[in-house]
Every structure is written in structure tokens, then in C-alpha cells.
Assembly symmetry: C2
Amino acid sequence: MHMAGISTRSLALPLVVTLTCGSAALAQGPGPAVTTLLSDPRLQQARAFIKADHERFVRELVTLTEIPAPPFKEERRARAYLEMLKEHGLSDVEMDQEGNVMGVRKGTGGAPMLAVLAHLDTVFPEGTDVKVKREGTRLMAPGVGDDTRALALMLSVIRAMNAAKFTTAGDVLFVGNVGEEGEGDLRGVKFLLQRGKYKDRIKRFLAIDGGDQGGITRGGVGSKRYRVTYKGPGGHSYGAFGLVNPAYAMATAIARFSDLQVPSSPKTTFNVGVVNGGTSVNSIPSEVSMDVDMRSESCAELKKVDDAFLAIVKGSVADENRARSTREGSVQADPKVIGERPCGETSTEAPILKTTAAVVQAFGLKPTFSVSSTDSNIPMSLGIPALTIGRGGPGGRSHSPDEWTDVEAGGVAKSVEVVLGIILAVAGER
Amino acid sequence: MHMAGISTRSLALPLVVTLTCGSAALAQGPGPAVTTLLSDPRLQQARAFIKADHERFVRELVTLTEIPAPPFKEERRARAYLEMLKEHGLSDVEMDQEGNVMGVRKGTGGAPMLAVLAHLDTVFPEGTDVKVKREGTRLMAPGVGDDTRALALMLSVIRAMNAAKFTTAGDVLFVGNVGEEGEGDLRGVKFLLQRGKYKDRIKRFLAIDGGDQGGITRGGVGSKRYRVTYKGPGGHSYGAFGLVNPAYAMATAIARFSDLQVPSSPKTTFNVGVVNGGTSVNSIPSEVSMDVDMRSESCAELKKVDDAFLAIVKGSVADENRARSTREGSVQADPKVIGERPCGETSTEAPILKTTAAVVQAFGLKPTFSVSSTDSNIPMSLGIPALTIGRGGPGGRSHSPDEWTDVEAGGVAKSVEVVLGIILAVAGER
């Protein structure tokens, strides 16, 4: 998806100047323009530093990748990352109650806090071989790209900021967070923004996740998951024939749900992934359940599916209790939410988006915008301007055992510079 | 259910004479009439013997009850019963491959073999306390009635036949059989009649099961059980949305099946007892299954339900493959039979039925006829004249831990005499 108003031509000054206004507005004060930033001599210093820092980036990426971090078991990697953060001149370097690790790079004041995140967890279960193999400039290991490369990259960015003595108006909170993948259900970011000590201070949010740095995630695919348990009186299949059967009510609900029409754009989906229940073939079940997943790029469409589903469940219960005898008890359904990734989006007019697009474009990349499910879902749902940006590459086979990422020095340097540029522009460089 | 043409008056000679023709026809030769049998002086001898034999009956009933015999674990009780059978002058006393134990009481020839059965198995699992408690004439223990009382009664009957020197035209095969209850799926009788050494010789069949001796089971409730497995390509709930989902096909089948109309008479039932499948909420399942039970007093109605069900399964697959994409593969369903009790009935005109009713009536009992699910289902389905007759009582709470049976001497003696009379009449007493 391309954003209206953003040209795909290579950088032209007038466009950048226009976008600079956004950045200034974002910093809520007279901030430096992206143009100024790009011509700042400190950027040359940073560039030189980043080049010299390459081996350390690779070493840290390998070290982190080889510490397993399955969902809910990120602690070893988190503690290692905490120690790394401590070497970067940050204040308040700590682990929060949820297991996120973080530190603050103080700003000069005059702009709100920006949170920058890379997630610690991988999708890979305990026991996965995470030893990094190298062929030329290619590193291969489960998780080496998603999102470990971003963890290493974040450290390089901080070092480059320090080396070139960049200061920002707002504080920048650097976070290695837990719980981004699957069943983690975004628990790290939920804690950070709903219960953590910076929850009222974070007003901008950048998650470094995904490969290509032209790709910017500006919308969060929302998801909602239920386990619906249907209960009834049960009984003998022959002797008690005619009593309500919770499996019939559930089947009716599934059959009706399967008929639901959803738009292909904004992409909206639903699924019944697990069905379970009953004790024997000759007993009317007393309990059955189903696990249901629904997602949409659009909050409104997700709500439509959710509402329709709950109405279908309710109707299926009523119909079963009408169709058969309730003399021994009726069928009831209990839909329990077992996962929720709130949807949300960052407006195409938001300063954070215009600024980020301008920086990306200034580096010769073509900004493209998409909607996905990332840590940014949470700030977006809370109205905090948020984007998920790329960690660079090339790389591939995320979530598969043969995942890889390329660490050719020039490519790595460029990806560090892009993220550095975005952070400086969004946080309000001084 | 009362049989047309059978009076409920106490025994009247003309009726018995009429019924005697049936008995004669049954023995396929000029057999003795029920009237003759009842006036035979040997019956008085037998009656005196049975009275004297009472304590042994009780002792053997207690001994057998206290040997646990859960489904598929009847062997210890079977071996004990085998030893008991050996004390009764039978030939070919043995255990067959399925675990049934049996012996033949030779006839004089001129009539086919009659099999008389009591089942060894109980519904109670291993570890159930089967110690018999006694209060007055009441014995209490799991399984003491169903069907252990019939096992003990069968031994008393053989002893009485021997004591009174009764001979029969046809051989009588006495069997303690396995696998009558539940998951045993009638395996003992299936083996006996389909694969056992007497399979081609047994032409009449009496199962001693059930309490009241007026009650005669002349029809077998048929049942058929399926596990239907639905398979599909699976996929990610969001990424692969739109692919066929086997859970949707199965739910459609269940919902349609639940709408099936079946008669209350002849009683016909169906049930979906277990549903299962899928691996995670965000995956389209690649496999789900359901366990289905259907039963009817009527072979024709059972076939209707069976045919309708299989058509529904087929239709659900076709509809799912039409409703969603099969680009990664289609949904398929595999209905596998996991249990089958064939239905069947013994005609109200069958000699075995007329003879048995006449004997029952001669003992002052009112014959009533019913349809149930017993070992007789198998011979009935094979066209072998078969009935399930009572073991006497009173008794109650079958299939529950507080099962009981009454062993008052007069009551026991009468129940032994009734079974003796039926066997002699059906086997063709000489």
C-alpha cells in the first residue's frame, strides 16, 4: 500500500522541507528539519563510527541469537541484553516486572518521550538448535533476523548517537521487550504502556521489526480469540435421547460462522482452530469447546465479526434449547477471551509517519505502508503515534529453522543509519 | 409390548397344545409337546433336586461374583467357570480363541444344536469392590445379577437335567461368553456364530440375561457407531484464510444430522458423543473427528439413519469444497465403523417364540415381548431363531455399584425350573 502524497521518486529537497514541518510539529517545538539533520556534520561522524563498529554488531548479534528465547522464556536473553544496555551510557537501565529490559537516553527537554523497541522473544521452542552458521556474509540460525538483528542494531544506533554526540529534545527509551510472538499476546508492550513506570510518558513509539526498511507498518491487524465452552446436562445416547446436546449447538454456531461474509480489503479473517469435548460415543456430551480466532486490518470490521460471532453463539444456544428437551437442564455457552491484539492505526497525516517516510526516502528507499500485527498494535490502540520500521537485511525464512540474515558491512551500516535518522527526526534532534 | 395371540390368562391346556405344534416343528421332527413335558414325572424329580441344590447355587453365585470380570478382562472368571462346567458331565469343555467357555450336553439326534448362553463380563472396571454382602435373602455386589446369576443358574439347570435323566433330541451347547457389555461389542457371540467351531451347527439360541422371566426379548436394538475423520490441507488462520476447513465441514454435518427426524416407535436414536481436532487457535485444522452412535429397534429405521448420516457426511464435504478454496487441497471425510450391533428379530410366528411363551405361561407368568440390545442381536441378524430370556429375581440396580439379587429358595427354584423347561422344550426333549 502506498501512502497518498508520498512520491516514490528519489529524494527531492522541496518534499523533504514540506515533511520537515511534520517533524517540527511532532517534537512540539522548534525542532530541526530533516534536511538540517541530513546535512549535519555529526551524521558523517556517525557514519564513520558505524563502519568501524561493524564487527561488534556482528559479534553481539551472534551472541544474542545463540541465547534461546522461546515465548515466556526470554529471561536469559533479557538479562544478557540488560548487561549490554548498561555499557551504553543510559540511565535507569533495568528489567520491569513483565521481563522487558530498558534504559533511557536523556533528552534536553521540550519534547515527549519516544520508546524504541526490538523484541527479545523468538517463535522457536526450547531445545531448538540456535547455533549460528556463517556462509560469506550470511548468518543462519533460528531467530537471527526476527528480531535479534534489531536488538543488535539498536545497540549500534545508541553507540553511534553517543560517538557523534547527538542529543534529542525528548528522552528516548530503548527497550528489549518480551512477548511479541504468538501466544505472548504482546504482553511486553501491554505491560509497558498500561502498567509500566513510563506508561504516561511515552508519546511516540517505534518498533524495529520486519526486514525491508522501506516498509513501514502504520496499521495494526487486530485480533480477538475466544474459547467458547458449551455445557449441557449430558446423558445416555439411547436412554436419554431427545435431551439437548451441546455439540449440536456448537456445530450450528460453527456452520453459521463459516457462512459469514468478510471483506478481502481491509483484510478480515476468522477461524475455528480447535474443537474438543465429550467422553464417549454413547453419551450425550456434557461439555464441548472450540477455539476461535478473528483478525482484521480494520477495527470496524473486526468489531463486526466479533459481534456477529457472539450473536451466532447466542443464537445457537437458543436454537438447541428450542429443538430438544431441557427437562434435565439446558445448554449454555461461555465465550471466554483467550487473546486480544487490539487493532489500531497511525494516521497517514500523523507527523511521525511523515517524518519517518521522509527519512526513509532521504536514504533512497521507497516508503511503502502496510498493516500487520506487531508490538505497535498496542500504542496504536491507545492513540499513541506508532510505527513498526525495518531492521534491514536482506534476510528471509523468518519463523522457520533455516532463517537467515545478511551482514555485509555496507548493508548493515545503511540500516543502522536509517534507524538512527528516524530516531533523531522523531525524537527531535537538537 | 405384548405379543398378539398370546393370552395373558394362566395356563389353559388347549392353548398349550396349540403351541406344542410349534415346539414339534422347532425340533424338526415329532417332538414331545410342552404338555407332555410338564406332566413328565422327571420334572418332579428335577424339582426335588433343584430344591436340594439351592446352597450350591448360592455358593457358586457368590464365588463367580467375587471374581472381577471387566470388559476384555473376563479371563479369570472364564477359567473358573470352565472348571465348574467340567463337573457337569459335558463333552468338549473348552475355551475358544475369543475367551468364551463352553461344553456340549449331547442329544439323541434328530434335532439341531441349541446354544444357551450367560455372559461372563460385567460393566465394572478393574478395582471395583465385588465382595458380596448379604442381608436376609438379598445378595448385594456389582454384577451379582447381571449376568452372574445366569451363570450360576445355568449350572443348576444342567445338574437338574442330569439328576432327572432328561435327554434332548438336539445337542445343547452351554456357554459362558465374553464381551456382551458396552465396548465388548458382542465379541463373544460374534466369534461363536461367525468363526467358532459350532458356527454352522447352532440353529437355535437362548441367552439368559435380564431379570423377570415373563419378559422375553425377541428383537435386537441395532446400533452402529462411526468415527468420522475429516482431513484438509490446514494452514495459517490469517495468511491462508479462505482455504477449506475440515471443522466447518464436520460442523455442517453435525448441524444437519441434529435436524434428522426419527420415529419414537420403533425407538430410534442418534448421538454425536465426541468431537476432537485441530492444533492451535491460529491454524486451520488439518484433521478433526467425531464419534457417532445410532440405534434403532427397527433394522429398517437404523438403515435409514445410517444412510442419511453417510449422505450428510458426503454432502458436508462437497459443500465445504465448494464454499472455500481447494487450491492447497480439498477436505475429505473417512467414516470408519467403530461398533456394530446388528439389529434383528425373531418372528412372532417362530416356533422358538411360541414354545418359550407357552412354557413361561405354563409357570404362571405373563409373557411380554420386548426389543433390546443383547447377545441375541447376533443370531437374530444371522437369521437364527433366538430369544433372550430372564434369569429370575427379584433384583435391581444393574450397572450400578449397589446392584442386588434375591436368592430366596422358592424363587430361585422356580427360575431354574422355568429355564429348564424352556431348554427342554426348545431342544426337543425325548
